[in-house]
Symmetry: none
Subunit: 429 residues, 2 copies
């Protein structure tokens, strides 16, 4: 089975947006054993879109088209597909109703051109929109046109907005492709998340395990540096059934985790934030933050997690030195220092009413501060009578320095919490 | 003049690497008034590469091929181009010498397959390598084959490593293309940033201006929805010289901005954060934040801007209700309400020591709170004796609700600040 990809949008050709959608699709298709042998970017031009779609359908069994489904005059993917199918567009009443209802629920006036998004090529199936207003389309081309397997080929149209695309591709496109391809094999993967060593460092530690994996018919192992989400190690396995896949993943995951030890902080959907919140929750502890260099990013990340409010009390973003001294009792002297970090972590607990204090003070740059270079970070952790501080050197550009500060501080708190036993839950007897 | 782009590499199709080279090339070509109407990713497969190159040369005057010039067996761009040109490959003695010398100078043994990189299609011109080992190629196709302007079309081959590619493209490819095209024209663009109306709504408001632009030889207009960076409108113009381009952009920018009025918050590199910080700075005002639903994201965004510390004092992230009541004097009753937002905005000024207070309280979901649905946002703005509050309904998914809350609240503050005159700077006389 071959499925090519067409990314639509003049802004892609002009380099105003980098096309990450076709990379995502290439990865998803490859994991399912579907070849994607040509991927094309084309502008918002009807004739060229039609020519590209026809050329792709000559070589591939299926084509995924990303983008050009919006409401404006330059969104013409629907028209191009209808021309390739040799059919007209007609308004889908259900889609139109959903669009109208969405605007009503937000109490906003609906510009009439939004109904362009309800136009569907005759014979196409709609992929219901969940988040945006544009639906996706499954468009059989050739054959009887009734959507049965007897149809020759197929064009899938999905919006170019990445989160809408991901949703529709996972929910509708990949299952439909798998059905058409008669795919039986199962693909499963496991992501192991780490913080505290470089990719090459981890690679070296896992040298013999990687060699074994390459020899055996075991999972493949890949590294994925993901900024402040940590450094990820992905194991991917293809097997005849889900149970076999799960067994294989479990075996190799255990070996990798055992080898890497404490730098592993989570797996799959776990994040540093969710892991730290869980550790606090299981110990019945509430957290207060005192942030300077990160200016609220630690609190912002923790509150991304639904349900964080039972653990996180709040944060004092003490950007001005006056706030550090008046509210958090930071003593005279440099505000990027062990003394400042410990005072902030220690005292924010009393100010906000919490058991645990976590503090960050550092130099984000571009200029140095009190003779300290950008990239300098002091982390303070206060639990009970113990208040500790750590000095960390991070990359010196402002964006990465601040983001790496977030995960570094949370990791320091994680390691500290792991030394505190979980209370044994009371039993009924 | 039309120049298409072919990015070579199976790893691109598998999504292991995102193809940023063709985006860079698209931008460079557009700036010089050269159309790049189709950009293709193809794997390391000779037949498919040859077919893609032939198809591109049928439609375009020139093709830039990125990647596949390395020393290993799957680097076959040279072979593919020779086949398209209908010529043999021969070793270029000068290139071979350079490669050998480079290994010697680093004191490293040279694996023999490196000499593959010295193979050049007969009739092609070498672009000398400066950083890597692979040279680039300028390959005339059709015509007399002697490299003169009488030749029909041309293929440029450059390495896929971005910094090597950038070097060769700027040094050799773009100058050669400009010479062939006899180019003098320049391209320039202007981005107008808005918040407060949908893409389709703005499209409708600009209907006649867009029609005029399409009729005239004026700039092109494109929309770019950019989440919490706002909704952008880009004007792009091609002209004979920079001054004419700037004039045209200025004329049409004024018309668009005049039509859209207060929803325009900035242009080009300005962000909502930088605009709000500037408005405060020019009024000599310092800002304190009280964040609940956004949990620190407003402070996090503002402190992304270097130099924000002269305006932003800090933030109280009052995630727990106890913090809202004890520190910010929120009265008994629901904490997502006009009363809560105004109390937070009003009182945070005194707590942190600032002139202006901005507060956010809302429901991020997934569950409703006090009978209010996810997406409910109350914004409080306090300046002097005036404390106002706004109710806004935002999309209900947690991520977007919180991000849109940030720009919505900053926009409310921006609009309020615009009603306050800037102090007249003291004159010298």
């Amino acid at each position: 089975m071959r499925c090519d990809v067409v990314a639509v949008g003049t802004e892609l050709l002009l380099g105003q947006i980098v096309d990450t959608n076709s990379s995502y699709l290439g990865e998803q298709l490859a994991q399912r054993g579907i070849d994607s042998l040509l991927q094309v970017k084309v502008g918002d031009n009807l004739d060229r879109m039609v020519a590209v779609l026809r050329a792709r359908l000559e070589e591939a069994d299926a084509v995924i088209v990303c983008g050009g489904l919006g409401p404006t005059h330059d969104d013409i993917t629907r028209e191009a597909i209808a021309e390739v199918m040799g059919v007209e567009l007609e308004e889908d009443a259900e889609v139109a109703e959903r669009i109208i209802a969405m605007f009503e629920s937000r109490g906003r006036r609906m510009p009439m051109n939004n109904l362009r998004q309800a136009m569907v090529p005759v014979g196409a199936t709609v992929i219901a929109q969940t988040m945006g207003t544009a639906p996706g389309l499954i468009c059989p081309v050739g054959g009887s046109g009734d959507g049965d397997d007897g149809d020759d080929k197929v064009i899938y149209a999905v919006p170019g907005v990445p989160y809408e695309l991901h949703d529709m591709v996972e929910r509708a496109v990949l299952p439909d492709l798998a059905r058409r391809a008669g795919l039986a094999s199962v693909i499963a993967s496991r992501v192991i998340k780490t913080w505290g060593d470089s990719e090459s460092g981890i690679n070296e530690r896992l040298d013999d395990i990687i060699a074994e994996l390459e020899g055996a018919a075991g999972p493949t192992l890949a590294f994925l540096a993901s900024g402040w989400d940590g450094l990820k190690i992905r194991l991917t396995v293809r097997a005849t059934d889900a149970e076999t896949a799960e067994d294989q993943l479990g075996t190799w995951e255990r070996r990798v985790v055992e080898r890497l030890g404490s730098i592993v902080f989570g797996r799959d959907d776990e994040t540093m934030e969710s892991v730290v919140l869980d550790l606090l929750r299981r110990r019945g502890m509430r957290l207060a933050l005192a942030e300077s260099v990160t200016g609220g990013l630690v609190a912002g990340r923790l509150t991304d997690v639904a349900g964080s409010s039972d653990v996180l009390v709040g944060s004092i973003v003490s950007y001005a030195s006056s706030v550090k001294r008046n509210m958090l009792g930071v003593p005279e002297g440099p505000v990027v220092s062990a003394e400042a970090a410990t005072a902030m972590a220690d005292n924010v607990r009393g100010v906000l009413g919490a058991d645990v204090g976590l503090a960050l003070t550092g130099v984000a740059g571009p200029a140095e501060q009190d003779g300290l270079p950008p990239g300098t970070l002091w982390v303070g952790v206060a639990i009970g009578d113990e208040v500790e501080s750590h000095l960390v050197r991070l990359p010196g550009d402002r964006l990465r320095m601040r983001q790496f500060s977030v995960i570094t501080a949370l990791d320091a708190l994680r390691r500290r919490l792991l030394t505190i036993p979980e209370p044994v839950p009371p039993t009924d007897r």
